[in-house]
Each structure stands twice: as structure tokens, then as C-alpha cells.
């Protein structure tokens, strides 16, 4: 019994921490795909650059960890606006293949660029003392950093839900996702809205990239490709343009991925692909997507 409770809490705590990371990074991808129908495969690159900004500010410049994450959010958010205006905006009406080719190209460029600046080896940071060690749950110790990730992920999720459901901008985003042409004819500037959402989504990916340094073995140039598939799976399972869907998809996939590897190391990595297959056969539009 003890062993069972122990394994269960292990899976929940570590799985949730990983799930929150998936959510923070994937939500921006989901919204941009839902809102503009734009396939942004370079989303992982923004997360990666966020990781490198965090390494530079927190590691080299000695900025505390949490402000470093905020700096990464702002820097990558602004950077993404630049890219959105210069490159993405030209391809909004282009066929999907063109979009895919352009963004895949961006991934290659980003990998070469960060290798040039930061080198090919993974970089790590020292996390602050208050995030080290363990939190005592009474019957089990859990690492403070994982608890911290769960809290941050939950906070971001609440903020996003609130922003989308209760604010004017949120209502505009929902309207544009549902029916873009109707929203435009009602006077919503969907272009500007998209730039804003794009920046927000990229900024959040950057926070995810910074948070992930500690648990993914450092930030490295290949990050943009290695995790792209996982982010796309989260978006596909959750349904495009749906925050709630992305959240639950991240929870399910994050926890199942950890559980699979923990319980059945031999074939556990396959677990999330099997789940994805089943979900998409059952609901091709994703768990919360609209048919």
C-alpha cells in the first residue's frame, strides 16, 4: 500500500510539473494555429531562445532567476513581434506548405544562430537556494523546484483563463478564433490582435524554455526540434486555439509520459504516442476542438 501511494504521488508530482511545462510552451502555439490557421513550427525556437536568454541573464549577469524569466518573456516577446511583422505577416494568406517551409527554415536558422553564439553544448544555470531541496508533504518529500513549476503553471493557466473569459481582448480573441471574418466585420482589428497574441504566446514559450533548463538537462541548440513533436501533439490532442483543451491535453500527456517511463521503462516512451493515436481516432478535432 505504502509503495503504491508512493508511486502514485511520484507520478502525479513529477508528471504535473512536466505537464505545466508542456502547457506553458504549447499554449501559444495552439492560439496562433487556432486564430490565424498559421502553422508555426518555429515555436520551439522561441522557447529555446528564452532558455538562452535566461542562461545569459541568470548565469552570466547574475540577475536573480525569476526576474530572468520575466526578461526572457519580454525579450522573446519583442523579438517575435519583429519576426511576425517582417516574415510571418507575408505568409498569412499563403498555402500551408509555404508556411511550414518558412518556419522549418527559421528553426534551422535559429539552431545555427544559437550554436554560433552559445556553442553546441548544453548550458545550465544554478537555481536559487529557495528552489533547491525538498518540500515535506507529510508522507513524502517532493523536490521544491517541481512544486514551484506546478504553482507557476497553475498561476499562468488561471491568468490566461481569466484573461480570455473576462477581458475585452479575450472576448475579441475568442470571437476571432470562432469566426475571423465575422469578427473583422464587427470592427475587430484581427491583424493587431494576432500580433499581440503571437507575442504573448512566444513570450510564454520563453518562460517555459527558461523553466525547463533545470529539468531537461540544460538548454541546447537542438531543443527547437527535439520537443517540437511533443508540443504539436499537445496542441493536436487539445484542439486548436483552445486554452482549456491545451491545458488538459498537457496534463494528460505530461502525467502519462512520466507514468509510462516510470512504470514501464522499456516501452514507456511510446505511451504518449499511443494515447495521441487513440484520442485523434476518436476525436480528430482534438479533445476540446470544434468539429
Amino acid at each position: 500500500m505504502d509503495a503504491f501511494v508512493n508511486a502514485l504521488t511520484t507520478i502525479l508530482v513529477f508528471g504535473l510539473a512536466y505537464a505545466m511545462l508542456l502547457f506553458i510552451i504549447s499554449v501559444g502555439l495552439s492560439i496562433t494555429m487556432g486564430l490565424m490557421g498559421f502553422v508555426n513550427l518555429a515555436h520551439g525556437s522561441f522557447a529555446m531562445v528564452g532558455g538562452y536568454v535566461t542562461v545569459t541573464t541568470a548565469g552570466d549577469w547574475g540577475v536573480p532567476f525569476i526576474p530572468s524569466l520575466l526578461i526572457a518573456f519580454v525579450v522573446v516577446g519583442l523579438l517575435s513581434v519583429l519576426f511576425e511583422r517582417l516574415l510571418y505577416a507575408r505568409l498569412y494568406k499563403a498555402p500551408e506548405l509555404d508556411q511550414v517551409l518558412m518556419t522549418i527554415g527559421l528553426v534551422f536558422v535559429s539552431i545555427a544562430a544559437v550554436t554560433f553564439v552559445w556553442g553546441a553544448d548544453p548550458l545550465n544555470i544554478q537555481i536559487p537556494d529557495f528552489l533547491r531541496g525538498n518540500v515535506d508533504l507529510g508522507f513524502k518529500l517532493i523536490p521544491t523546484y517541481r512544486a514551484f513549476m506546478i504553482v507557476i503553471g497553475a498561476l499562468i493557466a488561471i491568468l490566461l483563463f481569466y484573461g480570455l473569459e473576462r477581458t475585452r481582448v479575450g472576448a475579441q480573441v475568442r470571437a476571432a478564433v470562432d469566426n475571423r471574418r465575422m469578427a473583422e466585420s464587427m470592427g475587430i482589428n484581427t491583424g493587431r490582435l494576432f500580433t499581440l497574441v503571437f507575442a504573448l504566446g512566444s513570450g510564454m514559450a520563453a518562460i517555459g524554455g527558461g523553466l525547463g533548463i533545470q529539468i531537461l538537462g540544460g538548454v541546447k541548440p537542438t531543443f527547437a526540434f527535439e520537443y517540437l513533436v511533443v508540443f504539436l501533439i499537445v496542441v493536436a490532442v487539445g484542439g486548436l486555439g483552445n486554452i482549456r483543451g491545451t491545458f488538459f491535453a498537457a496534463l494528460i500527456l505530461g502525467v502519462l509520459d512520466f507514468a509510462g517511463k516510470y512504470l514501464l521503462p522499456e516501452g514507456g516512451a511510446f505511451f504518449i504516442y499511443a494515447v495521441t493515436l487513440i484520442v485523434l481516432l476518436w476525436r480528430p478535432q482534438g479533445l476540446f476542438g470544434k468539429a
Binding site: F14, D121, P122, P143, Y145, K220, T222
Partner: protein, 400 residues
């Protein structure tokens, strides 16, 4: 990418193609990982080989060496196979060397058997590789040399009654875990779980695997991962999950305390016990001279490691072949020259076993400690002239 490769090739050719042109020009195809996240391994190997060459190029008496560097990119084997094919058919190389990863060495074996080209393996450590072709000789190590000895040592000297082995799920990983299990259980211990921890191409999040090991409360946790970036992630995960405080001792082959990665591992590495054939901290005159020459050549903040020594000794083996084979170098003549070859390596005396073409060498037990702010590896024991246990016991493909 293309540009960089050409530049590297050019630099290598210039650096190594010295001496007069009256006698033979020996072409050596050097295949290793020179790009991507694992490029540091190929670079270490190249530096080791180049260091030996620069210190001994006078020994060849007129013959010259032209080294052609080719990138095998990843541990998958396919790229290595196609570049070796090109080296043999287009460049007509006399000797192939390098080979960081086992799958790459394995994919090359049938080719060199057919083409009758000798291969000096500078790293790839899966035990049965040398059985795959009569034209392979290995100067690096076998997974069984470190794994089996670590198993015995853990049971006898580290007071471990139970152990778990975690390994990267590809041939040398399975080999290493199997070697450890054999050594540990023969000495009276019990391996309670074997945990495959993802493939070699990317560094996984080790948490699920390590947490699984921690929850089973073994005395020792033996880990094999490929040298390079995996190793730092292993020590990090071990530290983060509080496994040391929970009484689980981390042990492994020296791949996980690779000298080039060691300083980045932090406090969590202290107390880690490994078995391997080379450490930069080995306290012998030959090694001290070698480390000094290395630092002089590549900078005071660099250090050789077992991959670098593999390159150094591999080049020594190639020099031996060139000096002792008259006329054209064939696989048969090269292997005949290498069988029984002995050399005073920085790691101690080494020999190529005439029966298996595999290396016979010392295996050291080291423990990571602190010297001021620097992490150091302190010698706790040594086993002299260790042969490959897998072939001795004829286990699985080692018996064929």
C-alpha cells in the same frame, strides 16, 4: 556546414601531411562525430590523434600520413557506413580509424571485411564488435572491462547488497549493464531492476528513471550513459532527486565522470565511484607528461579524457602498422602487426590481445573528491592487464 567541414579537412591535411614525399603516402580515413551536440567527442579524439602525430612525425622515416576527416554525425550508424564506403572506394584509404559510437563501428564492419581494409577503433566499446570482422583492432576499451569489475567492486568493497542498473538503450548500454550484473551477482549481490533510459541520440529527462530507481531503495545505482552531455545530466538528476541523502550510491563506468565534463557537475558528483581505463588524474609519470603536452598544445584550461587517449593510442597503433608493414598496407598484414603489440600509454601498459584483437589494459577504480574548488578523481584501486571478460566467458555474441 560544408565550408566548415572543408576547412577542417584542409587543416587536418596540412597539419598531418608533412615530411618528404619519396616513400609511401598512407591515407587514413578518420571517421568521428564532428558536428551537433556530440561534436566534442570527435574533437577530443582528433586532438589526441594529432598530439601523437605532432610528437612523433619524425619516426616514419620518409613515409607520410594523409588524414581525411569525415563526419559520422550521429550514433545511428547509417552516416558512418556511407562515409566509410566513400573513403574506401573514392579516396582509397589504407586504414580507417576513429569511430566514437558502437553502432557506427558495427555498421562499418561488413564493409571493411569485404574491402580488406584494416580498422583501428579509437572508442566504440561494445564488447562483441571485434568479432564482427577479422579486420578490426580496438585500442579503446570494452564495456565489460569496466562493468564487470565495477560489479565485483560494488559487492565486495562498497557494501552493496542490492543494485539497480540504468542504461542508455543501445548496444554498449545493454552490454555495460549486463557486465555489471554478471560481476555483481557472481560476487554475491543482487540486481533488483534493469532500467532502459531512452536512446543515445538525445539526452532524455532522467527523472522518471532515477525516481523509479530511488523508490526501489537499492544500495547501489549503476548507470551507463554515453560520454558527453548525458553524463552531466545524470549527475544533476542524481543530485536533484536527493538520492545521495536517501542512501543510494551512484556508481558506473568512467563514461559518467568523463574528465572534460567533470568540472561542470558540481557538488553532487563528490563520492561518485567509477571504474575505467583512463583518468586525467592518474598519478603516473607517463600520464603527467601526456597531460602537460596536451595542455601545452590545446590550452591550460583543456584536459584530455579517455576519448582523447583513445585517439592518441590509436594513432600510436597506426604508426606501428606503418613502420612494421613493408609495401602496401593490407588488412591481413596490419592485423598481424597489431596482434601482440604493446605500448606505454598514458593509461599504463596496453597490449592488443593476439587472440581477439581487443585491448588488454589496466582498469582503475576512482572516487570523485574535492581539491579546493576543483573536482578531482582519486585512485582507490587498480586491476592490471584486464582482458575483455565478455569474450572470456563467451556470453551472447561475444562467444561467436
Amino acid at each position: 556546414m560544408k565550408l566548415w567541414k572543408t576547412a577542417l579537412l584542409g587543416a587536418g591535411a596540412v597539419a598531418l601531411a608533412t615530411g618528404s614525399a619519396q616513400a609511401r603516402e598512407i591515407k587514413v580515413g578518420f571517421v568521428a562525430t564532428f558536428s551537433g551536440g556530440l561534436a566534442n567527442l570527435g574533437e577530443q579524439m582528433r586532438r589526441g590523434a594529432e598530439l601523437y602525430h605532432n610528437l612523433h612525425k619524425g619516426d616514419l622515416k620518409g613515409d607520410t600520413i594523409k588524414v581525411i576527416f569525415r563526419d559520422s554525425k550521429n550514433p545511428g550508424g547509417a552516416v558512418a557506413k556511407s562515409v566509410v564506403q566513400e573513403l574506401i572506394t573514392r579516396d582509397k584509404v589504407d586504414i580507417v580509424t576513429g569511430l566514437v559510437f558502437s553502432p557506427n563501428a558495427m555498421s562499418v564492419a561488413p564493409l571493411v571485411t569485404q574491402a580488406k581494409v584494416p580498422v583501428v577503433i579509437m572508442n566504440a566499446g561494445t564488447s562483441f564488435i571485434t568479432n564482427m570482422s577479422p579486420n578490426l583492432a580496438r585500442v579503446s576499451f570494452t564495456m565489460w572491462q569496466s562493468g564487470y569489475i565495477m560489479g565485483e567492486h560494488a559487492a565486495k568493497n562498497l557494501n552493496c547488497k542490492t543494485a539497480i542498473a540504468g542504461f542508455t538503450n543501445y548496444p554498449p548500454g545493454k552490454d555495460s549493464a549486463n557486465a555489471f550484473k554478471n560481476g555483481f551477482e557472481k560476487a554475491g549481490g543482487k540486481v533488483v531492476d534493469l532500467i532502459p533510459m531512452g536512446g543515445p541520440a538525445k539526452v532524455p529527462d532522467f527523472t522518471p528513471f532515477f525516481q523509479r530507481a530511488k523508490d526501489k531503495k537499492p544500495d547501489c545505482f549503476y548507470v551507463f550513459v554515453p560520454a558527453g552531455n548525458h553524463a552531466s545530466a545524470v549527475v544533476k538528476a542524481y543530485g536533484q532527486l536527493g538520492m545521495k541523502a536517501a542512501g543510494v550510491k551512484l556508481i558506473g563506468p568512467g563514461d559518467i565522470t568523463q574528465d572534460t565534463q567533470l568540472q561542470g557537475m558540481g557538488d553532487a558528483a563528490v563520492g561518485l565511484v567509477t571504474a575505467h581505463h583512463y583518468y586525467a588524474d592518474l598519478n603516473t609519470p607517463t600520464n603527467k607528461a601526456f597531460v602537460a603536452a596536451w595542455k601545452k598544445a590545446y590550452g591550460a584550461d583543456t584536459t584530455p579524457d579517455f576519448v582523447g587517449v583513445g585517439g592518441y593510442d590509436g594513432m600510436a597503433a597506426i604508426y606501428h602498422v606503418i613502420k612494421s608493414v613493408k609495401g602496401k598496407i593490407t588488412a591481413e598484414k596490419a592485423m598481424a602487426a597489431l596482434k601482440g603489440w604493446t605500448f606505454e600509454s598514458p593509461r599504463g601498459k596496453i597490449m592488443i590481445d593476439p587472440a581477439t584483437r581487443d585491448i588488454v589494459q589496466n582498469v582503475y577504480i576512482m572516487e570523485v573528491g574535492m581539491d579546493g574548488k576543483r573536482l578531482v578523481q582519486n585512485q582507490k584501486g587498480v586491476f592490471n592487464a584486464v582482458k575483455d571478460k565478455c569474450k572470456e566467458l563467451k556470453i551472447g555474441r561475444c562467444g561467436k
